[in-house]
Symmetry: C2
Subunit: 151 residues, 2 copies
DNA sequence: TTTAATTCAGACAAAAACATCCGAAAATAG
DNA sequence: CTATTTTCGGATGTTTTTGTCTGAATTAAA
């Protein structure tokens, strides 16, 4: 039927995060990567991840250079970007708020039955995404601890 | 751009949960409610919530009776249904699993950098939905503590 | 300066989620 | 039994998300 609770990412966010992690890793030695290479290394549709990165580039989350031998890269400052930053760049920050049952009026003053517990759990999740930086993932990849392909 | 992390519900789930809470409340005195009444009380598209409830009825989460003076209702046993039960009926239980970064291979043996923290937060959320029953909401509504309309 | 390889921009296309329509079957009051 | 009101089932329509195509602008090597 529907899509339900998605304590997971939209495709767009998943692709964006994986691509950013990959680019951050490849940028260590200053090299640029093009969308073809990115797509094949993170298992994503090539033209789609291109579009997504163009958007993130406009917002200053990474650098891009057109033309031959061009591509995308992430500098030292940008490697401090958190997963929460990426999510917010794509969808805005309203997704880190909101009622657990979808009631618009729900608030501290008029809480729904699960309001307090839910808020605590949701904030914990936000903290996790906020503290996870590209830099941190870069280390993990170098050690061979993680892969960016889907399987 | 995309949809991002949705620590919130799809429309379908939101409608389903609000409708179930409303029906449970109205069923206290044994009366049935029809889709028109449900839709107007929870602010949802009438024909759409009808379809959703038909599905939940088939799965045994509530009762339905066709014909004049028919409608939907929830008996005492069904009032023990949790929000997690509703979500699972609509989308299956895979949504309560899955990696926080969307990596298919991510597991205890091959964890992504946020695996452990994320799992803890996700499980806390599941617990909240699992422990929130229709019965519990029924009490809150009677006391006038919550409303089911969107605003 | 030419050429090849790339990002960029905007239109287009496909798939999934959300929502509606219509006619049939069922139930009940009168 | 009849009339009325409801759910049920399947097709259809709309909107959002996801994914693709095409051509122009950009860059640097040769």
């Amino acid at each position: 039927m529907g899509t339900g609770i998605r304590i997971m990412l939209s495709k767009t966010c998943e692709y964006a995060i994986r691509a950013m992690i990959y680019i951050a890793q490849q940028s260590k030695n200053g090299s640029r990567v093009n969308v073809k290479e990115i797509a094949s290394n993170i298992d994503s549709p090539e033209l789609f991840i291109g579009k997504i990165l163009q958007g993130l580039s406009k917002k200053g989350l990474l650098q891009s250079l057109p033309g031959r031998y061009g591509g995308f890269y992430i500098n030292e400052a940008e490697a401090k970007t958190s997963l929460a930053d990426i999510v917010i760049a794509i969808d805005g920050d309203k997704i880190f708020k909101g009622c657990g049952v979808g009631l618009g009026y729900c608030s501290e003053k008029k809480p729904c039955p699960i309001h307090a517990d839910y808020k605590r759990a949701r904030n914990a999740l936000y903290k996790i995404y906020k503290e996870a930086t590209l830099w941190q993932f870069r280390e993990s990849i170098s050690k061979g601890e993680i892969r960016l392909k889907r399987e």
